[in-house]
Symmetry: none
Subunit: 127 residues, 2 copies
DNA sequence: TCGGTTTTGACAATCATTATCATTAAGGGC
DNA sequence: GCCCTTAATGATAATGATTGTCAAAACCGA
């Protein structure tokens, strides 16, 4: 049975009050800064749980996983600058339905997808 | 000045002949399997160079960076079975135009994209 | 309150990636 | 072709995020 602990709540709350994406390490230091004695491994576990329960989105950047609180209908993708790493969140309803359609047409089930667009942002574009 | 080495060529070629995304580690083992004595660090460097020159796309999954050759005339996407690895190439004109549109709307230039759909193929689907 | 079970947390282990640095070799100039 | 300068290589150590371990602590139904 799943139990409720103050640690899990602390992580959930810290995630919800964070702006944008946060790494597990950052969340852990943040919690420590407020005096919470929560352990690092626990933060990792709590974030993984939240993500698998659909309460958080995760993506990986620069070799670390970053998380964000997720209200069930905020699935989106990213537009990433190849040069400076600037990341813009993009809506992709068109692509969502397309992905499901293509999967279904080929008899695939339980489809998810990777959709990321790379380019050069305004500042990094030549000319 | 930038020099051409057989190592760089080996990595480029290995990447181009790979289906879908490959990790640096996988590419390195693959090269070793064919008898190439190329070093791991060199594979990492070559991949990073290719990516920064726009000859390869990279994304991060499960804590590792994976790469794919990115040349305009072999552009296509994949529908990949998570269980058995079956790969189906898919047309994605809709997505091509969508990606260009989104990039342009955000001031990004030289856009390319990564679009791959993962799921369970007919044989591997439950029920 | 009690007891079985889950969760925690300190620390060790793992694994991809990057840094180090002596050695090798590319490529321009002769 | 032969030097020479210097970038590239590769063996290995270092780094840093994440996961595994396991005894101790906490949760919660009875």
């Amino acid at each position: 049975m799943k139990r409720n602990t103050w640690q899990r709540e602390a992580v959930r709350e810290a995630l919800e009050t964070s702006e944008g994406f946060v790494s597990a390490q950052a969340l852990h230091s943040g919690l420590h800064a407020t005096g919470s004695p929560i352990g690092l491994a626990t933060v990792y576990r709590a974030l993984a749980d939240l993500a698998s329960e659909g309460e958080a989105d995760s993506l990986q950047q620069d070799g670390e996983s970053i998380y964000r609180a997720c209200t069930p209908n905020t699935h989106h993708h990213h537009l990433i600058c190849r040069n400076c790493g600037l990341t813009v969140e993009i809506e992709a309803d068109e692509v969502e339905t397309w992905a499901q359609k293509v999967a279904a047409q080929n008899g695939f089930t339980q489809a998810n997808h990777i959709v990321d667009v790379f380019g050069l942002c305004t500042s990094c574009s030549p000319g």
